[in-house]
């Protein structure tokens, strides 16, 4: 498969569409021109791309919960509840994992099982099974914009149905899906699937129906920010080439305020540079931040503190959007009450801090951190482009093979997995192992010196023991291990 970063010609796209729409009977419900007309008739207040951009113009921070349950009635009830009780600004349809893996028949069976017992079996909203009409039934029942979400190697049919069904955005992407949601699917195949979904979004945009694409890049596992920004910018460039116009950048907080803020500030700036370099000047970007993945504390009191903490980091970094984990997710799939409580906590913090416009983006420590992040990201991306003879997709494939693009703890067997992070004395993520990253000596020295400070603090060499303790530190009660 020879995949390059070139906009798909119409005839190729429409030939692919025929195959995709035939993957499940509800594909027949999609009439693209009718869907575009439906989007254009929708009130602007229900469009995620426009509302997200409005946050940037107004200088405010909006809240994005993750929501998804199986039946139309239950999903609608969940969204309405969050709209009324959760003080959020956007709503979402999180796709169940069977649908995400294109196991539609099984998703349908599980949905029916749930209908019989009245207890949800699926862990999300099976968009493809509900079809265009089902999605519209939910989306038209609420006043807030709804996007659908969930990384997956093949979201093509889900896009067709979700977008025609009135969702105005999607969160997920080819690289995050490759690192964390596959075992042996080649990256070029996943990117090809996303070129399709981006081209579809681009088609809506050409007809002046705005859609929001939320890139994800890579999940953090004590990851220095360059490990997340580089894949994220690659996702942006792949989407922009196919005609996506509104992009929300995703920043995963990890807990060190200076590093998290430097990360969010820097990656928007760098994304702009790379978009302009390739001539995608009309692509708009916003920023979003969310709590780290990985283990969280089990008791709600501590999780409330973390929700407030990561909300604070996002507001200080001036993000337009904030997501959050919930107080009860350590125990079960989050309840609607638990989710609403969590987001009201975040809302209170935004309402306190938001109007103060506290300016800490220019702190010396933030600047130093930003400078290193920029140099690291550029070193990685410039090498990727060089390896691809200027083509970002060709370069990505080659760079993954040799670990120029690398991730710790990936599920994919095609990832080198040589890089590894550890926390420094202040809980910022540093490179324990640089793997094959193309960094200059002084960048490596910066990380090593920070790790030396940690070694002085703990009175021993940083080793695998440290790495393991760091990975669970937050769930055990602090940014650094307590013992």
């Amino acid at each position: 498969m020879n995949v390059t970063n070139k906009k798909w010609p119409d005839d190729y796209f429409f030939a692919e569409r025929k195959k995709v729409l035939a993957m499940w009977p509800t594909g027949k419900e999609v009439d693209l021109d009718e869907a575009v007309a439906y989007h254009k008739k929708m009130p602007k207040t229900r469009n995620a791309a426009l509302k997200d951009w409005e946050a940037k113009e107004k200088g405010v921070t909006y809240l994005w919960p993750s929501l998804g349950t199986d039946s139309l009635a239950a999903h609608k009830e969940l969204l309405l509840y969050m709209q009324e009780e959760g003080e959020v600004d956007f709503l979402t349809s999180y796709i169940d994992s069977l649908t995400r893996n294109c196991r539609f028949k099984e998703a349908e069976e599980e949905l029916n099982k749930g209908k019989k017992t009245g207890k949800a079996v699926l862990n999300g909203f099976p968009i493809v099974i509900h079809g265009v009409r089902g999605c519209r039934e939910v989306v038209d029942a609420v006043a807030l914009p709804v996007i659908f979400m969930g990384p997956t190697p093949d979201a093509r049919l889900t896009h067709e149905i979700a977008l025609a069904g009135g969702h105005t955005g999607y969160s997920g992407g080819p690289l995050i899906s490759f690192w964390n949601y596959t075992k042996d699917i080649p990256i070029e195949q996943i990117i090809h699937n996303y070129q399709y979904t981006h081209r579809l979004m681009g088609y809506y945009e050409e007809k002046e129906a705005a859609l929001l694409y939320c890139v994800s890049g890579a999940m953090p596992s004590i990851s220095p920010p360059s490990l997340m920004i580089a894949p994220e910018i690659i996702e942006v460039l792949i989407a922009a080439e196919q005609g996506v116009k509104h992009i929300r950048l995703n920043g995963w907080g990890q807990g060190n305020i200076v590093q998290d803020i430097a990360y969010i500030r820097t990656f928007e700036e760098l994304t702009r540079q790379y978009l302009d370099k390739f001539g995608y000047n009309d692509v708009r970007t916003t920023t979003y931040s969310v709590n780290p993945t990985g283990r969280f504390p089990t008791d709600p009191d501590r999780v409330f503190a973390l929700i407030a903490y990561f909300t604070l980091v996002g507001v200080l970094a001036r993000v337009q959007g904030l997501g959050s984990r919930t107080i009860d997710e350590a125990h079960h799939i989050p309840t609607k009450e638990g989710t609403a409580q969590s987001f009201r906590c975040a809302r209170m913090l935004i309402n306190m801090l938001g109007p103060q416009k506290l300016d800490i983006l220019d702190l010396q420590a933030v600047n130093t951190e930003s400078d290193f992040i920029k140099r690291e990201v550029k070193a990685i991306l410039d090498k990727v482009l060089e390896m691809g003879d200027g083509d970002v997709i060709t370069g990505t494939k080659r760079a993954v093979d040799v670990g120029i693009l690398d991730q710790p703890y990936a599920t994919s067997q095609l990832v080198q997995g040589r890089v590894m992070g550890v926390k420094d004395h202040e809980g910022a993520a540093r490179f324990f192992d640089f793997g094959n990253l193309p960094f200059e000596h002084d960048i490596k020295e910066f990380h090593r010196q920070k790790i030396c400070r940690r070694q002085e603090q703990i009175g021993k060499q940083v080793d695998y023991d440290t790495v393991i303790k760091d990975l669970t530190a937050i769930s055990e009660g602090g940014i650094l291990p307590l013992s």
Binding site: A410, Q413, R418
Partner: protein, 151 residues
């Protein structure tokens, strides 16, 4: 901190997660540490069956199969593995397992005995450190070599 390419391998290992379990962090750290200690690691990643481990062990002439499981269903997933190994001709292969092996909390001695009865040479608690595993591996591989049992 650097990645060492061993001149002479200390042993050949097949690693991976068994069953429909996607938890991968623990085994990735262990693989990283094993490679840096001079072992040749053939990683199978997530979603493996007993047969996958056996086929890889035969192909790679492995000294040990190292299984990670975090979903709590390990007992069901590994039942009969030792017999299948012997049937496949892997008479002296070392079998190691670690992770969150049971769903309900029970005394560690009971869990350990359960898996030793299933034919495992080493059974590890959650959050065991790579150093301890590497020490055991060195001992166990040396002991097999000393008794002259050739594979």
């Amino acid at each position: 901190m650097t990645h060492i390419n061993p001149v002479k391998s200390k042993g050949i290992l097949v690693t991976g997660v068994i069953g429909e379990d996607v938890h991968v962090t623990g085994i990735r750290i262990l693989e990283h540490a094993l490679r840096n200690s001079g072992f040749h690691v053939h990683s199978l990643g997530i979603h493996n069956s007993q047969e996958d481990f056996i086929a890889a062990a035969l192909e790679k002439k492995a000294d040990a199969i190292m299984i990670s499981s975090l979903c709590g269903h390990a007992q069901r997933l590994v039942a009969g593995l030792r017999d299948k190994c012997i049937k496949a001709g892997l008479n002296n292969i070392l079998l190691y397992i670690g992770g969150q092996l049971v769903i309900h909390p029970e005394d560690w001695e009971i869990t350990e005995k359960t898996f030793k009865d299933h034919g495992f040479d080493r059974v590890y608690r959650p959050f065991v450190l790579p150093g301890a595993v590497i020490e055991d591996l060195n001992k166990d591989i040396a002991s097999i070599a000393a008794t002259g049992k050739e594979k």
